[in-house]
């Protein structure tokens, strides 16, 4: 009754800003970034990537309240880059990394598919699942999210 609609946990509201940057007034080269409708999945990954960058002095994230679907991430850099650029670089690096893992998975799956077709077909349809799953999945279209 008083519960919010579940989709409000992950769908941006009308006119809602996905990312808000508040620069710190007291600490140099620091900013607090509020990211709406995202959770630990993105927050922790980005934080870890930021920490691996030499120009980042501090990075931390929190989900202030479990019922409020946003998180904040605080970044302080050494001044060579702004926190925003640090965050952007971190995201770009992560996208590359995910792409790398994606490629490796694709290759591994291709190997396994070849194996499966030759040997372990006893379990019914082949690993690709062309039988009930129809087109087997459109992930191989090679989308490039960097095009955003």
């Amino acid at each position: 009754m008083n519960a919010i609609n579940r989709h409000e946990l992950f769908v941006l509201e009308d006119g809602e800003n996905p990312v808000e940057v508040t620069e710190d007034t007291k600490i140099p080269n620091a900013a607090t970034i509020r990211i709406a409708k995202q959770d630990h999945t993105l927050g922790n990954m980005v934080r870890a990537q930021l920490l691996s960058m030499p120009s980042v002095l501090f990075a931390g994230y929190k989900v202030p309240h479990p019922l409020q679907p946003y998180f904040i991430i605080k970044v302080q850099t050494d001044g060579t880059i702004t926190p925003q650029i640090a965050l952007e670089t971190a995201c770009n690096d992560l996208i590359k990394m995910v792409g790398d893992v994606e490629g490796k998975f694709k290759r591994e799956f291709a190997f396994k598919d070849a194996d499966g077709a030759a040997g372990s077909n006893a379990t019914g349809a082949a690993a690709g699942g062309d039988d009930p799953y129809g087109s087997g999945g459109g992930w191989s279209e090679g989308k490039d999210y960097l095009d955003f």
């Binding site: 940057v21 650029i85 965050l87 019914g124 129809g134 992930w139 999210y145």
Partner: protein, 379 residues
Amino acid sequence: MDGAIVRIRELKKDSVNFVLENVDMAFANSLRRVVMADIPSIAIDIVEIDANTTVLPDEFIAHRLGMVPLISANCSDAMRYTRDCSCPAGCPICSIWLQLSVTCTDDRTIDVTSDNLEVVPGPYGMSMSMDDAPEELAKRGPYFGHPVSKHEPGAQPVLLCKIRKGQELKLRCVARKGIAKEHAKWSPCSAVSFEYDPHNKLRHTTHWYEVDERAEWPLGPNAEEEEAPREDQPFDFNAKPNKFYMEVETDGSMGAQEVIMKGLAELQTKLANLIIGIKPDLDIMAGGDGQAAGAWGTDGGTWNAPEMASGAWGATASAPEATSPAWGNTGPQFGGGSRRGAASPARVAWSGSPSGGAGWGGAQTGWGSPNRETNGWAT
């Protein structure tokens, strides 16, 4: 990170066991989280019960129906979210209708299973209301939306209810696309396991034991992948977990391979959206607001317009029963007590949600729907 290593140890139709190396824990954990909660699939969302003289109450059956895995291969492209769809109250692009009708006339009890669910065309003529030839439909496999066990020889169907002589169960369902953050029934995964550091070298956990730690904490199979620490080995407090053993098992609605690839793509989308989100600010600092809109793509400036401007959308949202005669027919039943919302309270009614409709309409411009242009009204 100098290149991740992926090694698939076992691949079956609905599960994959792999080792992920040279990534940090946050990354591996994000992959785990994303395959569990962010991949769209199809599940029954609304159940309209015509007759239920079984021993189970309507809600009970509706809830069970929601849990039935439906074949959702390629569903992120082949189906729209109802909130993103331009139809007033469900169309073949955003909904799948299923029917179940079982009556027992024998002297023995009958099992009502997910195999009794039949996919049927929509309740009203379904004249493919959209003009833009629904490319989504072309991307569907032959059994898209069917219960998983139905087309697999030897598979055990999901038992919904047992009925005895004289009892009947007759109902209609609407299945929709959703993600597990809304309701766990939309999770394509039935189990995801995640392990690292099988020898507990990093001491991320403490083993409680009575007498002998080794005897009371037998090593799992993943321990063979890593070298056991020597007896006198000092604790390396700088060590970080580097090798992750994961197994992703799906409920059959998608193949394990698809789940992994979709999960990685979803991670990229999340990151890309974050970059886009942070870019307009940079552009504004540089004095170019127009660039910011440009970064959002062509719909950047216009996405408020359709729902604000088009009275038609507002009207259909507020009065779906009026605009769709066939639903009007079922209207009385629909509004009455015979209808049961399925497991998700968020979707209680299509009808009484003018604000809901508008909200969703607007909301779709956010993340989660990379191809919002396909809605037809962004242009």
